[in-house]
Amino acid sequence: MAKFKTKTGKELKPLNTASLPDIVFMLLFFFMISVSFRQTERVVTVRLPEATEIAKLDRKDLASYINIGTPIPAYQGQYGTDARIQLNDSFSTIEDIRDFIAASRESMPEGDRPLMTIALKVDENVHMGIVTDVKQELRRTSALKIMYSTRRKAEQHNF
């Protein structure tokens, strides 16, 4: 016969939660330090293409971003739906790239300037014409280190 003992002698003590805030605060500080708020507002829609042979950008602080895509719906009345270039927060033209590169070079420490990377965030449906123009302008300003931003694609097994 099974016997069930009722524990009468020991009272179950409530779990001590005094250190819980400490743990939570620790997590909180971690996230607070690692968080980086988005600095620029996108005025063009960019859906990045997928690729497998990708490398991580190891110095985020040395990257400048050039967005190319169709304007977001709010600006389509003004700028149309053709692909446009976005530098910083505003629509720009090819001619503005020179100043943009010069300004980003200026803001970097002297020693790191050769390591500056231009990340091209280009929508996958954009035609190459505008991208080629941007690349030519980058060559003219000798900002030669570029990165085509892509999303990571799960490795496909063909056939």
Binding site: F31, T52, I54, K56, R139
Partner: protein, 193 residues
């Protein structure tokens, strides 16, 4: 007068901290910037007459994407899934065919002499090519180079390229140079038919 200060009830401290924690958890974007890294060739000096380096026809593979995203390699239309193997075959030239790239002996510091292929892959695109097609082709080309490098590294060092020492990586880079060129856009324009 002064009452003995009682303990502050810290029971809700955890709740507040949780609330903040959840806010930061939700707002944090831990995206790492990833992409295909390339180096553009410097702009040729306009005043200076640059000598066009003559590349033997057998050493060059022209990969062309036309304005309707069709892919041609060495004048032959092909599907993107076949491109990588075609480029790898071109880079290694295993059968030493006369219409495939020649190999030259090259002295590499710290390794000795090895046969280095003189293959050059030339990527050409039209202004109407979609960016997605361009990136897919770039990706396949880089993949082909990476696999050839991995094979070389496997054969000589027994490890993949990524897990080699820095010095060994330099040797592999010298032995399998990434000769991927892009045609000057003006030339493409003038050649448009």
């Amino acid at each position: 007068m002064a009452r003995p200060a009682g303990d502050i009830n810290a029971g809700s401290m955890a709740d507040i901290a949780f609330l903040l924690l959840i806010f930061f958890l939700v707002t944090t974007t831990m995206d790492v910037e990833t992409g295909i890294q390339r180096r553009l060739p410097p702009m040729p000096d306009e005043n200076q007459q640059t000598e066009v380096e003559q590349i033997n026809k057998r050493n060059i593979m022209v990969v062309l994407i036309n304005s309707s995203d069709r892919l041609f390699a060495r004048g032959q239309e092909m599907h993107i899934t076949m491109l990588k193997d075609k480029v790898k075959e071109f880079l290694t030239n295993p059968a030493n065919l006369p219409d495939m790239p020649e190999k030259r002996e090259k002295e590499i510091e710290g390794f000795g002499t090895t046969m280095v292929s003189r293959a050059v892959v030339s990527l050409q695109n039209h202004r109407g090519t979609s960016y997605n097609a361009y990136i897919q082709v770039q990706n396949e080309l880089v993949k082909a180079f990476n696999e050839v490098r991995d094979e070389f590294a496997m054969q000589h060092f027994g490890k993949k390229y990524d897990s080699l020492e820095e010095d060994q990586q330099r040797i592999v880079r010298d032995a399998v140079p990434l000769n991927l060129s892009e045609r000057e856009p003006s030339e493409v324009k003038s050649r448009r038919r």
